[in-house]
């Protein structure tokens, strides 16, 4: 059976009581609509994860579609339905790095362009001071890709350390080291400014 990405679809109709594992069971029986419900649950998280890695909305959307297509094709290989999230993000991580190596082989990993306005610098929450947002954006951009990805997975996506280790395919100790080093750097850069600005 062939599937293609299509605009629109059955969204925002996910039954509240249905768990990912229920939907995965439906998908394994060939229920495409069940998979669309899974997509609607996870697409925003996957898209934003990829957006924070690549900094490009178009690339992130393309990658998101590839990620979900690959997830559908391989969903029978998922051993534990309760680990769908880390498994999906593992696919997203691999797709992002694969795409980046393919189109920019001179760079080993997604890295923001220091000379251009980065994704983080373009985002500002309503009601938040622009200088604070810019300070955060600048600090995140100065992290190396591995540190930034650890911050994204922990702070913005809320994964546990063991889940991050699964996504990044590295030991938990490595994950913690990357995250805590990044937070030390961010704390140094960000602490004085927000403290003065908010008190």
């Amino acid at each position: 059976m062939i599937f293609r990405a299509a605009p629109g679809g059955a969204h925002d109709v996910t039954p509240r009581g249905a768990q990912d594992s229920d939907l995965i069971a439906r998908v394994r029986k060939g229920d495409v609509e069940g998979f669309n419900l899974l997509v609607s649950r996870w697409e925003k998280r996957v898209f934003n994860y990829l957006l924070r890695l690549t900094g490009n909305p178009d690339d992130s959307l393309d990658l998101s579609q590839d990620v979900f297509l690959k997830a559908y094709q391989n969903i029978r290989k998922l051993d534990d339905a309760a680990r769908f999230g880390p498994w999906l993000f593992r696919i997203a991580h691999n797709e992002a790095y694969s795409r980046f190596r393919k189109y920019r082989p001179e760079v080993a990993a997604p890295e923001s362009e220091a000379s251009e306005t980065s994704f983080f610098e373009r985002q500002t929450a309503p009601g938040i001071a622009v200088d604070l947002a810019l300070a955060v954006a600048g600090a995140l951009d100065r992290l190396n890709p591995e540190q930034r990805e650890a911050v994204v997975l922990k702070i913005y996506q809320g994964f546990k350390f063991d889940e991050m280790a699964e996504i990044l395919d590295c030991p938990v100790s490595t994950v913690k080291s990357r995250l805590y080093t990044a937070l030390d750097l961010l704390k140094t850069e960000l602490a004085p400014s927000p403290i003065r600005g908010t008190r």
Binding site: M1, I2, F3, R4, A5, A6, P7, G8, G9, A10, H11, V32, F35, N36, V39, S40, E43, K44, R45, F47, N48, L51, P57, L61, S64, Q65, F68, L69, Y72, F120, Q123, T124, A125, I128, L132, A133, V136, A137, L140, V151, K154, I155, Y156, K160, F161, K176, Y180, L183, D184, L186, K187, T188, L190, A191, P194, I195
Partner: protein, 199 residues
């Protein structure tokens, strides 16, 4: 960098991200009540993560959905025009078959030349027939080409003659106009030489 000197600094970080087991969590909470360094470190960590979250998630620009390309299931016993037409066609075929059978029973058809007759032709006869067919085809193609060329040539000649005729007509008109102008000049000249007479 981390300037926290307490030996439980790593646990404070794990605590901040809710990564401690219940027993460890309870133990650290007791430690925090008596260790100002750890309490301050926890505050700084929470402030840093709160500041990082000023950059919000983005909405997915285009929703992702998957559709099946599988053909729809066959529907039986649905009364519609297609089904009625199929019935009429089937009845017509059945009636024709019945009539053909009846006719065959009444008067057997004349024997058809056996197919094997073709095999009785000699190789030379086949080659001769093929050569003749090729010659005929070439001759016909040549004749068609000649006919098309003649027609095109006639069309071009006709068009050329028509254009020539138009040029001659235009030249004649121009000549007539020149004559009229010459006549007018002569008349005006004569009138000038005879005062009191006007045209």
């Amino acid at each position: 960098m981390n300037t926290h000197s307490c030996e439980k600094s790593d646990l404070v970080r794990d605590y901040a991200f809710d990564e401690l087991a219940p027993a460890e969590r309870k133990s650290l909470e007791q430690h925090l009540t008596g260790c100002s360094d750890c309490a301050a470190e926890l505050d700084r960590l929470r402030l840093t993560t709160a500041v990082l979250r000023v950059i919000p998630d983005q909405e997915v620009p285009r929703r992702i959905a998957f559709v099946s390309d599988a053909p729809p299931a066959r529907r039986w016993f649905v009364p519609n025009l297609g089904f009625a037409s199929a019935c009429v066609l089937a009845a017509a075929i059945s009636f024709s078959a019945y009539r053909f059978t009846a006719f065959s029973n009444a008067a057997p058809a004349a024997p058809v030349a056996p197919v094997t007759q073709t095999a009785q032709l000699s190789q030379s006869q086949i080659e001769q027939a093929v050569t003749k067919a090729v010659s005929d085809a070439v001759a016909k193609t040549h004749a068609d080409d000649v006919q098309m060329t003649d027609a095109a040539l006639k069309a071009v000649e006709s068009k050329y003659a028509q254009q020539q005729n138009q040029v001659m007509v235009a030249a004649q008109e121009y000549l007539d106009l020149q004559k009229k102008q010459l006549h007018t000049y002569n008349t005006l000249y004569n009138s000038d030489t005879r005062p009191g007479v006007s045209q």
